[in-house]
């Protein structure tokens, strides 16, 4: 595991040192190239039995990554799965970012080439295992044919085939040419999980060594010879247009080369970002704000509440809801969640070189093929004339499931001779995001004999799926918006779930880490706690009582309660809150312990999660994803809200769109349960778990049942009535 690994495409192709990186540090910019032109995935002379595996005669094994690396550790997990079934030599692996190719690298869950929704391992588990096993079988067939023995008498390990009876061993590299001529098996035999040697071990990540020394190349780091730098201003009002631009002062700024004025944005091109930024600041831009200049948060919430009073499309109905609600004591509540920006640490960017007959793009995206096709439209070129060079992503969180930043950069680049790197300022990044939509979830439930007998739940919010993946939007139901609302783990005899589509005016909305389950798990788990209190039961005990037929949920809940010292005494105004969720194919229980001070400020003391995610491909990455996911969710619960006034986003940077910091971070323990079930998704589970667990901890500490995020401290100050 200590051998040299490189994710540089150049390194992968030359099988050697990442010379491209070194050049960038010691030569002046004009000669520096941080990222080579995307080479073709050349398979000549290699054993390349499928889209994912290339073995050259020296044994170097290149694995093509169908999912993008944005911090979730997927390059390592994909490599582990492929290498496991291939029995590859881990020290000889080299990784290659996949090119845009929906057919070869499409995500089997989405069909399109996308990384998101905590689907990577779930979607690629079987195809990657089969790809590895099939390649292994062909290598074995080649060796067996050479030796004139039965393939079944050969074994494989670490990139070699062995025939034990005759004591012969041959490397995969030496077999590359012969294996290429073999017929792939129709149904390759997969390993019995008990024989896994890589999967399930805590492997060191392949992408991290270059991230401690500045060598890792993100989209924003791409350096193309002779490129210029640009930054942009879009109309601050959504949908507004450019009116007049006075560029006299900007043109006098040293280093400013060009002012690009398009119908909805203005960009300044310069010798470096500083010149571009100074130039942009010096522009006098008059915007035609258009009809959206009157939009504000209050009106958006009024509209959402009105929409939420209507009947929705039925997403699920079991039992008899009218009877269920009538047969016990009835309680109602509504929960509201705000717009959120993604704020990836790497601000939006794309480097583009538009020529009359081609366009080349350097960026980091979660949607390779869609970026290519949208860029082609913007460039006015056939799709095959657009090359997209993908990079490591400095965070994705769903923001880079959208192509808008690349489209804008292409439109700017069309006005520029030579390549141009377009970088969003943080302010522009936050004010022109594609926001997590506002949601309002209403619940009516009835309690009888300490149990829930009726559960009527309605989600009201935008249908992101209708825009992003239209074929999946069926019968008026957004499958993302209802995710985790229709599969609540608790045994409830009468359940009715509805969805009301309500699109906020003009504000673009999209996926945000945790997606649909964020809103539903919050509403469900908060209300379950309220019902537990009405029933006079402890929140964990109350949940347990409804999980008799849910052994995986029950087991994570019990272990989380034990590890978090559930039930043991706490000081005044300190509470523990629990959250149990079915999202992303993973069973996870979380307990947050928090203190609420006299002013209502919150001190996060401790978070404990127990995760049953089926077979844990790389257990340490699973722990890391839950730790980070919790922080992401807790950040949103404590601070996250984008508000709109006069058609504009009011927040602009980390001073007013705050993030949790290290000094506020609780102790976090994550326990991964051993399981032989198929793997679940993990990247978003912690994000979904954090807010309801914290809210329930606050409920326990203060008696205040918060029903809206972010947490309003004013409601929590000591002496306020619960």
């Amino acid at each position: 595991m200590n051998a040299h690994h490189s994710i540089s495409r150049r390194a992968a192709l030359t099988g050697g040192l990442a010379t491209g990186f070194l050049l960038a540090f010691h030569l002046p910019l004009r000669a520096a190239v941080n990222e080579p032109v995307q080479p073709e995935d050349k398979t000549d002379g290699k054993f390349a039995p499928n889209a994912f595996i290339r073995i050259d005669p020296e044994g170097a094994t290149t694995l093509v990554m169908p999912q993008v690396e944005m911090g979730q550790g997927i390059y390592t997990a994909i490599s582990m799965i492929l290498a496991e079934e291939l029995d590859a030599d881990w020290s000889k692996l080299q990784l290659l970012h996949a090119p845009a190719n929906e057919k070869l690298y499409g995500n089997p869950i989405f069909i399109i080439q996308a990384t998101g929704g905590s689907t990577s391992v779930r979607a690629f588990w079987k195809p990657l295992r089969e790809a590895g096993a099939s390649a292994r079988a062909m290598l074995v067939q080649a060796a067996a044919a050479q030796w004139g023995v039965d393939p079944a008498s050969c074994t494989t390990s670490k990139g070699e085939v062995t025939h034990k009876a005759s004591g012969r061993t041959v490397s995969y590299g030496a077999l590359a040419a012969a294996a290429a001529g073999q017929t792939p098996p129709k149904a390759p035999t997969l390993k019995d999980p008990k024989d896994f040697v890589y999967i399930g071990q805590p492997f060191k990540r392949l992408d991290t060594p270059d991230k401690v020394n500045g060598k890792a190349v993100y989209g924003i780091d791409a350096i193309v010879p002779d490129m210029k730098f640009a930054t942009l201003a879009q109309c601050p009002v959504f949908g507004g247009k450019v009116g007049k631009v006075d560029d006299r002062a900007a043109k006098k700024i040293p280093g400013v080369r060009k002012i690009v004025v398009l119908d909805d944005l203005v960009a300044v091109v310069g010798d470096h970002m500083w010149a571009a930024k100074k130039g942009l600041d010096a522009l006098d831009i008059e915007w035609n704000e258009g009809p959206n200049a009157k939009i504000n948060s209050k009106a958006i919430w009024d509209d959402l509440r009105a929409a939420s009073a209507k009947d929705g499309v039925v997403a699920k109905s079991t039992g008899d809801i009218a009877k269920g609600l009538a047969s016990g004591e009835k309680f109602e509540a509504s929960f509201e969640l705000p717009f959120l920006a993604h704020a990836t640490m790497e601000p939006l960017n794309a480097t583009v070189h538009c020529k009359p007959d081609s366009c080349e793009i350097w960026t980091g995206t979660q949607i390779m093929a869609r970026v290519q096709s949208e860029a082609a439209k913007a460039a006015g070129l056939p799709v095959e004339k657009v090359i997209v060079n993908n990079h490591l992503l400095g965070g994705g969180f769903g923001r880079k499931l959208e192509p808008d930043m690349v489209v804008a950069a292409v439109r700017i680049a069309k006005q520029v001779d030579g390549p141009v790197k377009v970088v969003w300022t943080r302010e522009e990044d936050i004010q022109h995001d594609v926001y997590r939509p506002v949601y309002r979830d209403t619940i009516a439930a009835s309690l009888s004999g300490g149990k829930i007998v009726g559960w009527k739940y309605k989600i009201t919010g935008a249908a992101i799926i209708a825009r992003w993946l239209p074929p999946a939007f069926q019968k008026g139901i957004d499958i993302d918006a209802i995710d985790s609302a229709t599969d609540v783990p608790y045994e409830i005899p009468n359940v009715h779930v509805e969805y009301v589509r309500a699109e906020p005016p003009a504000i673009p909305t999209g996926f945000w880490r945790g997606v649909g389950p964020n809103n539903n798990v919050f509403a469900v788990e908060c209300f379950i706690d309220e019902l537990a209190r009405k029933a006079g039961k402890d929140p964990v005990e109350f949940r347990r009582g409804m999980l008799a037929n849910q052994p995986r949920f029950l087991s994570v809940l019990n272990l989380a309660a034990e590890k978090a010292n559930w039930g043991q005494p706490l000081p005044a105004r300190v509470g523990r809150g629990v959250c149990l969720q079915p999202s992303f194919g993973t069973f996870i229980a979380t307990v947050v312990e928090a203190e609420v001070d006299e002013q209502g400020e919150i001190n996060l003391r401790r978070a404990t999660s127990v995760v049953d995610t089926g077979i844990a491909v790389n257990p340490d990455t699973i722990v890391a994803q839950v730790e980070g996911g919790l922080i992401f969710g807790l950040t949103a619960a404590l601070y996250g809200e984008i508000t709109i006034e006069k058609g504009r986003v009011q927040q602009s940077n980390f001073n007013d769109y705050r993030m949790l910091r290290i000094n506020q971070t609780p102790k976090i323990e994550v326990h991964v349960v051993k399981s032989g079930e198929a793997p679940g998704g993990i990247g978003e589970t912690g994000t979904t778990a954090g807010p309801p667990a914290l809210r329930n901890a606050i409920y326990a500490a203060t008696g205040v049942a918060l029903r809206r995020l972010p947490i309003d401290r004013k409601l929590l100050a000591a002496g306020r009535k619960a």
Partner: protein, 156 residues
């Protein structure tokens, strides 16, 4: 045009033309092609752009180049040549701190400066030195752990 500016970066002398008020961040990234130092916010709120000036952690996005002539500048590309930087890099990999990694250049620079001045930091020292560095992936728990590992000299 501009006066030529000369800086000492990672022990090497670099001369270039830039306006005196231009932040060091953009000189590093856009003129010298040293892209290990990252742009995150531009207003010294996130720490992604942290470098060392005479061994102290500073935010290069708000630091005019004119203020750092004749000072020793160290960036992520060379921090591994310092004892504290090498310890931090090693601990970061051992604790598998990193996720997306975009903020980690800045985190490592802040942590290396902390260890250089405070070889055995306690939790409050870590809070004070690291609270200016945002990590959106939420690696804070492991950052704290890795700083303690580095301080406990597993390196030697």
């Amino acid at each position: 045009m501009h006066m030529a500016t000369t800086l000492t970066i990672n022990g090497e002398t670099k001369s270039f033309d830039a306006p005196p008020e231009m932040p060091l961040l953009w000189v590093l990234r856009d003129i010298l092609g040293m892209t290990g130092t990252k742009f995150g916010c531009g207003i010294a709120q996130c720490g992604a752009c942290t470098v060392h000036v005479d061994g102290k952690a500073v935010r290069s996005c708000v630091l005019p180049v004119s203020a750092v002539e004749n000072r020793a500048i160290t960036t992520i590309e060379a921090v591994g040549n310092t004892p504290s930087g090498a310890k931090v890099q090693k601990a970061w990999l051992e604790a598998e701190v990193i996720q997306c990694g975009y903020c980690q250049s800045g985190q490592i620079m802040s942590a290396a400066a902390l260890l250089a001045s405070t070889p055995k930091p306690d939790d409050s020292d870590i809070d004070a030195a690291m609270a200016g560095n945002i990590c959106r992936c939420g690696t804070y728990v492991r950052i704290r752990e890795a700083i303690k590992q580095a301080a406990n000299g597993r390196q030697s």
